[in-house]
Symmetry: D2
Amino acid sequence: MDIIVLRPDATDEALRHLLKKLESKGLSAHVSKGTERTIVGVIGDTSRVTEEEEDAIRVMTGVENVMRILKPYKLASREFKAEGTLIDVKGRVIGDKKIQVIAGPCAIENKTLIMNIAEKVKDAGASFIRGGAFKPRTSPYSFQGLGEEGLQYLADARERTGLPVVTELMDPRDIEIMVKYADIIQIGARNMQNFMMLEELGKMQKPILLKRGLSATIEETLSAAEYVLKGGNREVILCERGIRTFETYTRNTLDLAAVAALKMLTHLPVIADPSHATGRRDLIVPMARAAITAGADGVMVEVHPDPEHARCDGPQSLTPTGFSELMDGLVPLVALEGKHLGVG
Amino acid sequence: MDIIVLRPDATDEALRHLLKKLESKGLSAHVSKGTERTIVGVIGDTSRVTEEEEDAIRVMTGVENVMRILKPYKLASREFKAEGTLIDVKGRVIGDKKIQVIAGPCAIENKTLIMNIAEKVKDAGASFIRGGAFKPRTSPYSFQGLGEEGLQYLADARERTGLPVVTELMDPRDIEIMVKYADIIQIGARNMQNFMMLEELGKMQKPILLKRGLSATIEETLSAAEYVLKGGNREVILCERGIRTFETYTRNTLDLAAVAALKMLTHLPVIADPSHATGRRDLIVPMARAAITAGADGVMVEVHPDPEHARCDGPQSLTPTGFSELMDGLVPLVALEGKHLGVG
Amino acid sequence: MDIIVLRPDATDEALRHLLKKLESKGLSAHVSKGTERTIVGVIGDTSRVTEEEEDAIRVMTGVENVMRILKPYKLASREFKAEGTLIDVKGRVIGDKKIQVIAGPCAIENKTLIMNIAEKVKDAGASFIRGGAFKPRTSPYSFQGLGEEGLQYLADARERTGLPVVTELMDPRDIEIMVKYADIIQIGARNMQNFMMLEELGKMQKPILLKRGLSATIEETLSAAEYVLKGGNREVILCERGIRTFETYTRNTLDLAAVAALKMLTHLPVIADPSHATGRRDLIVPMARAAITAGADGVMVEVHPDPEHARCDGPQSLTPTGFSELMDGLVPLVALEGKHLGVG
Amino acid sequence: MDIIVLRPDATDEALRHLLKKLESKGLSAHVSKGTERTIVGVIGDTSRVTEEEEDAIRVMTGVENVMRILKPYKLASREFKAEGTLIDVKGRVIGDKKIQVIAGPCAIENKTLIMNIAEKVKDAGASFIRGGAFKPRTSPYSFQGLGEEGLQYLADARERTGLPVVTELMDPRDIEIMVKYADIIQIGARNMQNFMMLEELGKMQKPILLKRGLSATIEETLSAAEYVLKGGNREVILCERGIRTFETYTRNTLDLAAVAALKMLTHLPVIADPSHATGRRDLIVPMARAAITAGADGVMVEVHPDPEHARCDGPQSLTPTGFSELMDGLVPLVALEGKHLGVG
């Protein structure tokens, strides 16, 4: 809240009232009377001015507009911390020159399957295994996940393969259980603005993978990360997974410029999820590659050995063979970017 | 999942495999070989075919596309129940020929204020008082609400005025306390697809006010309602509150065609929230009126006696005087629609 | 271009360079050094600062952002002209307290049909007959219109019924012929930013019906109107006809808040087109009514006696009977708004 | 138009009427009576069924929905022509394994400048020089271009450097002059659905660079290309340049999944324009690179030696030095894709 534009018909009385109000907040002001508008530049620590105070000014008599100069996030910004944040999860470093790939099925369907997939994605070069234990779907008549049983299978797969696990938290009541099983807790697009849950995660010592909401701007995504950071948890990984637009050929529209922009705006690692973004298997590989070229610190892709029988998201899953091909192709691309793929 | 389109190069083998799969689900099929595509019409109770099964078919060899004929909701549809659902909350009937107005501040700030507003909106003709006790904001540095203390103040306001209360549930852990205090539990736009919470609300005996998500289609909104309905709770009120588009003059884009469309597609009552949709006080009255004309069963508006000092959403709140004018203007408009405003 | 925000690392040298540049444009500046940013308020006639000059400043060393305070349109604004513009087309006044209805088929298909429809919509109370002579469609394999022959039929219909005619200009080479036949020249959504054509229309003495582009903001719509106005043609009617969003149930999303907002921002008349906005016959009547309630100065609707055989837009056309019902229903609604429907 | 879904309450009479109608078009039908809906699969050459006929069926009694199985374009599709189209412009081949870069200023400002830029981008490895002679801007108060004088300067630059020229056609009256000066005629996003102009270009022997509209789907972009192709001009290059979404950090949202999807759906070459898509200089290089990785056959970027004094689009222009760096970085990236950059 730094610049206040007055209406052309604003009275001197209105201006005085405004200046007094600013003064009461410990702020001073520079008044610029232009030919068509008077503008008030606010001086002082405006980061202490809250949304409600900004709103209050917006509705004052004579005020036409209030323009925020500073971003609504601070701890997440590159200005606050210039060097990129590195997140080390059991030896897998995310950020900087390290590219990590997270792979696995949409849902943990049974123990055999998750074990099988974990081994295959590990062999192909993945650094993390992913899988969902809680899978509420758009329609209430679909498979909803195995719950804690699924998390146990995921832990078994970790024990077998050594791959740290990424899984999604859907409900704040599951935070404790998630902290117990997950190496990285994923917050899905629908929960990106579940601020209460983010605040609680801010108090945990566990990396958070925060997916951009379907209708969230880049700035709002960073503000959501701020909720976690300000609680003291500095390990947040952002994930671009497509936004909702009028285009229907793809499930969502993968916004790779957001990946490149985020890498400039924040020190946090940024990855992309081409599976959810496109919803189409044939677009996963080109979009995973394009994400790396755009500057992403990694990608997350869905892999299923038998997409025809997958219990969710079959159409957007690679087969293990397809995943191997993706990984083989990533090696020279990552090298070209001067980065390293995977552990070591 | 009713029509399967084969690729032009689909083999007979692929078709046979598909038909066998359908048969195994207890479904039969009509095959239409066209000049450019072969189409398989699926016969039988396809409502039993889940999303994952539909997905499984989508990824089969030779399949180009699967087109759903039936909507992904059933209990919410007009086909299922032709007459409009009436929801009676302590004598205030929502639906059919009754128009109800819900009014109050964004947040419950203190006891005096909510008492004051409740009396004023009651005098002006509101049927319900609203106010939020939990107010997570986009920025973590803003006012976050009074919690249960706020709910108690809201209950006090109800006792004083007789107005039933509407308040928002943000966290599943608060369901019990909400059932205790609220007459209608509001689910905000950000939680419209919090399916776990919706399922739990399906088991409660408490009307639910379900707001459309910022990036939710009409069909997805009805699917979300289905989650509540299928649990046994048949009292769901839908609320159009604007969708996210490229237009930035208004906070969101109020989709009044969705109100008219929902009234045809579903038997559930539908209201509109012009305060959140537009984010601008000067648009509340015309949009509230337009919503009624479009067929809404009511409107929800923010009212605050001193928007300059409101702790949230001041710019989109009417003053009590402005609210009175809105109500006065609604009387003849509602009469023109052949409906009745408020109690009795 | 009125406020310039400097980067936190901007040097004094960069600031001096900027101030010098402003001075060279005849502008002076107020510099406000805040704790986190330095802000430069530009004083003087900034309306003379063009887009390219603004862009030039945006790329200067040390500049973080340039914020425009003034709107990019002037002649179209309420500030420039407070009282509403009245446009009198052969005795039909558009604007102020007058509500006018424009009706007719999407395309002029043949003489008999347009004559027939003209008589029917006149009987029902329409003030203008509309019909397209040039109808390029999304697919190149569809009916493309009758061309000048169609315009002659439209003129015949005008002669028979006395209704002035509205028809769309698609190509600048047709301006002369349009001026000859049309009483109001419509510019379709796809041409809203065809600035060359708008400039030429600015030199004509013929009212222009300017439809909002599918992806045009309210501000851009007003800027497009400015192109016509600045040429000297002050008779522009704006038309809200839906914007493109993720919602697919309706063809576009009718933005009625834009109607109410435009009525505040501009003195020009504003109408709505519920046929094109929704693409669905069953939504035309509620949306036409809601548009009037939102403040529209009129509506434009498609009418066809036999939608099943219409050569375009059948699904969004009312039958003459449906149109009569709409008009009958509008009478008390318009009266309630304190306005008058049609001539006189 | 291939599948017709009947309403649950459709009568046998309605079905008979429908079948008779199809028969009258020379089409036959397979009727599938399901438990909840009856579906009619249309057999025969449905590509002859026009939009208006499809619309006519959509409004028949008893019809709930009409689903098109075939795409609304044919000549543009990979099914029609499997091998990629190669477009040879004075020895620069676009398509297949060739990556071409088009570079130059937004507007041709004067002769010296365009000469200067042409030499610099040629030295850096560009294959084409671009520049606009007609530059209508959003605001009517900005620089509008030099017109034919500008085209002459562009031709001079071509003579000096040997680089073929790309320039935008804004008005159908300029087609002849464009054919005279341009090597590739660009159709901007705002004219993508100017179907009359596209039809005329279909009769020319000149490659067309067709930019995707701001609110155009992938399918609509291909339908627009179809307008050119069906006239006989088979040399169309598609260009992804961002779509309009709610995100405002970038000017538009570059849809790189559309690039990858188009490469599968069509045989036409596809390029990307990161300058217009992002509107930000710092995003041009990563997005140009990501576009190539996603499968683009080239990129078009704005280059200006002095962005601070550019007459348009300064903020989204690279300097010649920045452009050289982009080109240097593209060499190994293009090689990695198994393709060749530039001539030869």
